[in-house]
């Protein structure tokens, strides 16, 4: 586990960090390092420079913006899962963060890092999708906002440019009748380890029927992805178990389901449906 040689800088301001990225197109950003460092040690990734953002002030907070909440680039999984704000407005994300890795990983790894890493079987990216999160990316040219739906581009590839840092995941506050949930089967069984399949769902119930729904699936395809078929079938339905189960049958519609050591195409398709139903039911139950 010996990485190739690399340069290391630990700037104290965001501007310096962004300048370092501009000057070194082969650089990678280090926050918690829970994914980057193993990849470097296995020589799957050999950046010429590592820009450690851990000493930059102001990136470690979860803030209340009035109509939304922001999770900064250095906020850990543990902090996300323990946050009252996240639990209230993004329960799916709080749950996903609490099931990420193990305790050591959760104490070091960051929510934003998990988004950027964009693992096909990670927990938090689908929660961001279901919650309709906005990714705030900074570069020396300014900041831009990327919808979560446009952020996860391909296998372990996000829409972030090499000279950008994801400084914030912004989640809209949940309005009346809106709630979210996440459920999965982990590779060790239960909720432990990467998702064999997992589903995050956000639903809004008004006047006895479902007025809005967003559902996203992890672990089954080449990236965390929206399950539009489930959401479409839910909207306008009464949210009964039968309606939810009928909608969940569309969990992998339009998704190219891939086999791996943990599941065949048939099994993963089935699991996506099972967890779509479970996540939607849990969200509906929380929505009241």
């Amino acid at each position: 586990m010996y990485p190739r040689q690399f340069d290391y800088v630990a700037p104290s301001s965001l501007e310096e960090a962004l300048a370092a990225l501009d000057a070194n197109p082969g650089a990678k950003v280090l926050a918690g390092g829970m994914s980057l460092l193993p990849m470097m040690k296995m020589r799957l990734l050999s950046p010429e420079m590592v820009v450690d953002i851990g000493r930059i002030g102001g990136l470690g907070d979860i803030t209340d913006n009035g109509d939304s909440i922001s999770i900064g680039a250095l906020v850990t999984h543990t902090e996300v899962s323990a946050s009252g704000l996240v639990q209230e407005h993004g329960a799916a994300l709080a749950t996903a963060a609490s099931w990420t890795g193990d305790r050591q990983v959760r104490n070091r790894g960051t929510c934003c890092g998990s988004m950027v890493h964009a693992d096909v079987a990670a927990d938090q990216p689908v929660a961001a999708l279901a919650l309709g999160a906005t990714m705030v990316a900074a570069s020396s040219g300014g900041t831009r906002e990327i919808a979560a739906a446009d952020f996860f581009v391909d296998t372990m590839m996000s829409a972030l440019e090499p000279n950008e840092i994801l400084t914030e995941v912004r989640i809209p506050k949940a309005g009346p009748g809106t709630a979210s949930a996440y459920d999965k089967l982990g590779r060790r069984g239960g909720h432990t380890d990467y998702a064999v399949a997992g589903v995050a769902a956000s639903v809004t119930r008004s006047n006895g029927s479902i007025s809005a729904a967003t559902v996203a699936v992890t672990g089954v395809g080449n990236r965390p992805v929206l399950a539009a078929g489930v959401a479409d079938a839910l909207v306008g339905s009464d949210g009964s178990d039968a309606a939810v189960e009928a909608a969940a049958a569309h969990a992998t519609d339009g998704i190219d389901v891939l086999e791996d050591l943990y599941g065949s195409v048939g099994y993963k398709t089935h699991l996506a449906q099972v967890f779509a139903a479970r996540a939607v039911k849990a969200a509906l139950s929380a929505a009241g």
């Binding site: 586990m1 010996y2 190739r4 069984g189 239960g190 432990t192 380890d193 050591l261 599941g263 699991l271």
Partner: protein
């Protein structure tokens, strides 16, 4: 939890403060000035002709001291093995590589980073050849692993020692039983999958050749320091006493450190060549393909019995995966399975395993080594039979046990004399502890609610504590290691002039708590506080020669030697004390750091006794000075521990997810020296058995690539994945050693995998599932449910 101890109760492991505070010293912690570091160039192909190896770019890199290929090391010969059946591993291979991860070249550099960079810069051209991974394909010899040689290295057939006529008669008897009107025949092919041993401390070796003295200091994370000293001596034309091997703290072994490895020889070679200390510590991903693996059997088990639970015959026929090369014990591992092929039962057993090569890493001893596999097939098929005839699985087992009345003198149907056993008592104790009938009632109630709850039971006997050298003498020898196959225990107990004591002992721990156990034996024998006792092991200069730590042998063999050496010291000390106290030797007893005249307050401390022992003019006439004794213990048999395990599971039929709710272990390892350590051994053993049952799988692709070679994909059980085990024990002392103890290091593993599988199959019985191959990952369980429903 029971706290029975022949030596007086629960003692905390005295080695733990150093280990858990990060203050233990392991091989990789050894720092010597000027140490060079090694990285290996390894084959990415399972089978390929190496057409060229270009080391020039690597050799030219700054900080690189040497790059060696087979041309440099072939003169040393292949890697030695105790059981040299089959092709032995070349130290380096520039010809035809036989598995992914095989070492092609070795880079030595000033630091490990440069070494790795340079290894990446070695340019090797490979011409890939067809690989054989599947055991049945290997058996057909369609693709030879080694040109011109059959892939089948040996076939182990049992009962042991039966000639062809006896085997034919046995098979005819079982065939005849199958023809009976009331015969029930249950047969199932099952896979006992390959596993990767994953000690927390990877293997690590450092060689320091001292040219001025023509001697080696070798530091290695090994279970067999004496054998390594002999091996290094043999390779370099030196005597054993010119090589000192130090096994420092060994952070887990489980059998995978019970080989002399090519890297150990190569690191020593480089140190001699370069005149500096040389170190190599394997990386985790490297270990997956360069440290031995375990298990890897496919076999068909068949039980023939009556409708009322009498088993008339058991047959096992299968294939065991040896990997590409034979290392230390490779083909002997299935033979250890044959030892316990008939388990604790009395029924006729026919047993045959073909040992075949494949283009994969070598297999060898992994915790249990052949016995978990043998027990798995036996206990799964007996369970299937019980299910088929609708009889309580505990009852079927009880009906077919070797009776307690047959001991002493019982001989297993496989032809081996067993020390002591009382299987029915142990089974009853387990059933009572678990609340067996309540468990079954709760399961039935859950079923009625549509839940899939299952209860699994399995019992085992295993063989360990090797052992009489005749029993394990397969006709090979340790000559290549300069080590005779003397499976003796050896221990030296010395009382120092200040009354403290040191015990030097042949076997060293890799987590088993020897620092505590040996101190307890000596402390109990001498009436000395364990804190006054130092334990020395794992150093060939300071400790007596030993075959090593494996096969759950330390307590039963070296522990017995320790006990006997302690007794000799006590006897001499009693003479001195009697002399000093002007009392009779018979009236001397030892306690609280002193010798006392029974029934009086007349006493003399160990310090005073020892001071006297080292001043010969004060000693009784005729008594020589000093206060130490050496004892060798050669057991008359191996030990045969046994037990009963019970698991309770619930399966989520929608996902196939298995929830292990309870795990009960009732083990019998004879007398117990240190209850906490015995329980700890059982805990770890069960965890590894559950690991095989539910998680672990060394998955090879058809091209021979290991698909689960990192800990992301090779799923190990963690404490968080397991319930709190409910352990208790019965005590049936062994009669072959003075402590009455049996080995316990592997028993937990040998008893557990099938217990879990039996429970999951029980949970799914309402759906008609009869068998699922391990590991019982959700994917497989769900598929079995679908297949049963279809």
């Amino acid at each position: 939890m029971s706290s029975t101890s022949v030596l007086g109760g629960v003692v905390r492991r005295r080695e733990d403060p150093a280990l858990i505070q990060g203050r233990g010293r392991y091989t990789d912690d050894v720092k010597l000035a000027g140490t060079a570091h090694v990285a290996f160039v390894r084959s990415p192909y399972a089978h390929a002709q190496v057409s060229s190896v270009d080391t020039s770019a690597a050799a030219a890199m700054e900080g690189v001291l040497a790059v060696y290929t087979a041309a440099d090391t072939d003169h040393l010969g292949p890697l030695i093995a105790q059981v040299p059946v089959g092709a032995l591993r070349p130290l380096l291979n520039s010809g035809t590589v036989k598995h992914v991860g095989e070492a092609v070249a070795m880079v030595v550099a000033e630091d490990p980073y440069v070494a790795k960079d340079a290894a990446d810069a070695v340019d090797v051209d490979y011409e890939p050849l067809p690989a054989v991974v599947d055991l049945k394909q290997s058996l057909s010899d369609e693709v030879p692993v080694h040109e011109g040689a059959s892939n089948t290295l040996i076939s182990w057939v049992g009962p042991f020692g039966a000639d062809e006529a006896a085997l034919a008669e046995l098979q005819e008897g079982i065939e005849a039983a199958k023809q009976r009107d009331d015969a029930v025949v249950v047969s199932q092919e099952m896979i006992n999958q390959r596993l990767i041993p994953v000690p927390i401390e990877p293997r690590s070796v450092m060689a320091d050749y001292q040219a001025g003295y023509d001697r080696f200091d070798i530091y290695s994370s090994t279970q067999i320091p004496s054998a390594l000293a002999g091996a290094i001596g043999k390779y370099f034309g030196m005597s054993m006493n010119q090589v000192t091997v130090k096994a420092m703290e060994v952070g887990g072994g489980f059998g995978c450190k019970l080989n002399v490895y090519n890297d150990e020889v190569l690191v020593a070679f480089a140190s001699r060549q370069l005149g500096c200390p040389v170190k190599w510590t394997e990386t985790r991903r490297e270990a997956a393909n360069s440290t031995i693996q375990g298990r890897g059997w496919v076999a068909t088990a068949t039980v023939t019995g009556t409708e009322d639970g009498e088993i008339l015959g058991f047959e096992l026929e299968g294939i065991a995966d040896m990997g590409a090369y034979s290392q230390n014990f490779t083909v002997a591992i299935p033979f250890l399975g044959l030892f316990v092929g008939s388990g604790q039962y009395s029924f006729p057993t026919y047993w045959k395993m073909d040992c075949v090569t494949t283009h994969t890493m070598t297999t060898d001893a992994y915790r249990g080594a052949g016995r978990p596999e043998a027990a798995y097939y036996l206990e799964r098929i007996v369970d299937m039979y019980a299910r088929r005839i609708g009889m309580d699985p505990a009852e079927v087992r009880r009906k077919n046990y070797i009776s307690a009345d047959d001991f002493p003198g019982a001989v297993s149907p496989m032809g081996f004399p067993m020390d002591t056993g009382d299987y029915a008592t142990n089974l009853d104790a387990a059933l009572e502890t678990a609340g067996w009938s309540d468990l079954l009632a709760e399961r039935d109630a859950a079923r009625a609610e549509g839940r899939y709850v299952g209860v699994g039971l399995a019992t085992y006997v295993e063989v360990c504590g090797f052992g009489p050298s005749g029993l394990v003498d397969l006709g090979f020898s340790w000559a290549e290691y300069q080590m005779p196959s003397a499976f003796n225990g050896s221990s030296l107990v010395r009382v120092h002039p200040d009354g403290s004591a040191t015990v030097s002992i042949g076997t060293g721990p890799s987590g088993q708590g020897h620092q505590t156990t040996w101190a307890q034996i000596v402390g109990d024998g001498l009436g000395l506080d364990v804190e006054r006792i130092r334990v020395i092991h794992g150093d060939t200069e300071e400790a007596p020669p030993s075959i090593g730590t494996f096969g759950s042998r330390s307590a039963a063999v070296d522990g017995a030697a320790c006990y006997e050496a302690t007794g000799k010291v006590r006897a001499k000390a009693a003479r001195i004390a009697a002399h000093l106290l002007e009392a009779s030797e018979e009236d001397i007893e030892f306690a609280d750091g002193a010798a006392q005249v029974v029934g009086t307050d007349s006493s003399v401390s160990w310090g005073e006794i020892a001071a006297c022992a080292y001043q010969p003019h004060r000693l009784p006439e005729g008594l020589e000075g000093g206060l130490e004794a050496h004892a060798i213990f050669s057991p008359g048999n191996a030990t045969w521990p046994f037990g009963t395990h019970i698991a309770v599971v619930e399966v989520d039929p929608d996902t196939g997810d298995v929830d292990l709710l309870r795990y009960i272990g009732m083990d019998d390892c004879g007398n117990v020296i240190s209850p906490m350590i015995v329980d700890g051994q059982i805990h770890g053993g069960i965890a590894q058995g559950i690991g095989q049952a539910m998680f672990e799988d060394a998955v090879y692709g058809a091209d021979g690539n290991l698909l689960s070679g990192s800990l992301v994909d090779y799923i190990l059980p963690t404490a968080a994945d397991l319930p709190s085990f409910e352990l208790d024990r019965t005590v049936t002392p062994s009669d072959i050693n003075p402590l009455g103890v049996k080995g316990i290091g592997e028993a937990g593993t040998i008893g557990s995998a099938h217990t879990v599988v039996n429970a999951v199959v029980d949970a799914l019985e309402p759906l008609g599932v009869t068998h699922i191959d391990m590991p019982l990952r959700p994917r497989r369980v769900w598929q079995a449910i679908q297949d049963a429903r279809a």
